[in-house]
Symmetry: C2
Subunit: 279 residues, 2 copies
């Protein structure tokens, strides 16, 4: 049987903790399963925040010179992140997909070296603009996806569900960005499409006005450099960067749209959301 086109989906950790949204995504994936093969990437920030809160640990964040906010991930936090993202969020998603009849298999990037990364040396900027170099942060830049493993699972009829956790150069777990994971997976698998499911209807020139139905990656890059894109939140900026990476990695089309509505994937495939293409 020729393999159906691959769609790489990305959902946030908060969606994993939202049973109604998750059930709706799962049902939609099941209804589309004869037309597409899915690979799902997810984060686990909200689960990690919740666990830290219960343990009385205040989460720390770094801000890069470009203004991107990232979770600080020391040795204690990476261990909690492995539990919350790799254990809790991943199993919540797998159970919801299994309940909808999708034979999901949950993995982190550690498993079979599914996603390898290099530990980042982080430059952090404080509120006064002072820069500091951080070397003991377990955050990684994705280097390689084990496409062969994922293809083996897809060919055997499984739907891989990848938690945003990679294996580093010393076999250490590393926190990676879920949107960039989506881009790396879509590129490595030569996916037909990547879809980033979020809690808004797409990319807005001036949120909550001017939803952009379609644009090219270069138009998006240009927009991100000017004031209009400055209005996008840190989370939306990361999503947009993931979309651009996917397009640059050879993916034909990336869609950003609302994952909290009925039949979210079908709606986006039918034209809803923001559609990003190469040209």
């Amino acid at each position: 049987m020729a393999q159906t086109p691959i769609i790489v989906l990305k959902i946030g950790g908060s969606t994993a903790g939202n049973p109604a949204a998750l059930a709706s995504i799962a049902q939609d994936m099941a209804s589309l399963s004869s037309q597409y093969s899915f690979v799902l990437a997810h984060g686990g920030s909200s689960q990690t925040n919740e666990l830290c809160k219960r343990l009385g640990i205040a989460p720390k964040f770094y801000t890069s010179p470009a203004g991107i906010k990232s979770r600080a991930t020391d040795a204690q936090i990476i261990s909690l992140y492995a539990m919350a993202c790799g254990g809790q969020a991943n199993s919540q998603i797998v159970c919801a997909l299994q309940a909808a009849g999708v034979n999901a298999i949950g993995l982190t990037g550690l498993d079979g070296r599914a996603v390898t990364a290099r530990q980042k040396i982080i430059t952090s900027v404080d509120e006064s603009g002072k820069q500091k170099i951080i070397r003991d942060d377990y955050t990684g830049k994705i280097e390689k996806v084990n496409a062969e493993l994922l293809q083996t699972l897809l060919s055997a009829g499984y739907t891989p569900v990848l938690a945003a956790l990679a294996i580093g150069e010393s076999n250490q777990p590393l926190n990676i960005d879920g949107d960039r994971l989506m881009a790396a997976l879509a590129s490595a698998l030569h996916a037909d499409m990547a879809i980033s499911l979020t809690d808004v209807d797409g990319y807005y020139r001036n949120f909550p006005n001017d939803l952009v139905p379609s644009l090219t990656a270069s138009e998006l890059e240009a927009a991100m450099k000017n004031a209009g894109a400055g209005a996008a939140s840190g989370g939306m900026k990361k999503k947009l960067m993931g979309c651009i990476e996917a397009i640059n990695g050879g993916v034909r089309e990336v869609i950003i749209g609302n994952g909290t509505v009925a039949s979210p994937i079908s709606s986006l495939l039918a034209g809803a959301g923001t559609h990003i293409t190469k040209n």
Copy 2:
């Protein structure tokens, strides 16, 4: 290439949290990798206990009419267990194996329905001997192992690492016993051998005296019924029951032995520990 004989290993969650023991097991698996294919089963009770302690949640246990103590697993605990066993212990083991050059892939029984179970209705006996029926406990009795998935991974060169978490009849996560998981995996995979690694040298008639180097499953069953076996702790009783189940499931030989020594698997294959056979 003809597949090498399969050995199913079982380690406790406490070994997963012991980096030196884990590294030694991982190195031994790497050194034996040309002779055997390994599948590893593990628990996560110590990680779950630790997490509960940090969260200020007192663990509850039930005692069965047969005197077997089991963790009480309500909705809150199963969620913590999924994190601690499926997230933390599993990723610790996978990283240690990867560091030794073993291409481990961590799974729970939820993943690809690797292990399905039926939720137990528990009869608990209190200290005064009074029985109580418990229906909201997320503990399962193993029903089926997806041997095809594990064979697919073994054939592709991966070493599956299974956390003791199964998927139930309503797609809910269920806590399962690690020793019984070892038995179910070994039976389903027609494994050549199962090895239960613990922190003592094997099964003793009268701990710490009279280590038994070898016995048959029926001798072991008989011994467990008389006073001598009554001296075995709850943990050892569960291990022995897992060994008997593996033998009854068609496994040629099961070994119980010390996982905290150098080259633990090679030592047991060379004769150390307690060797249990059918006849």
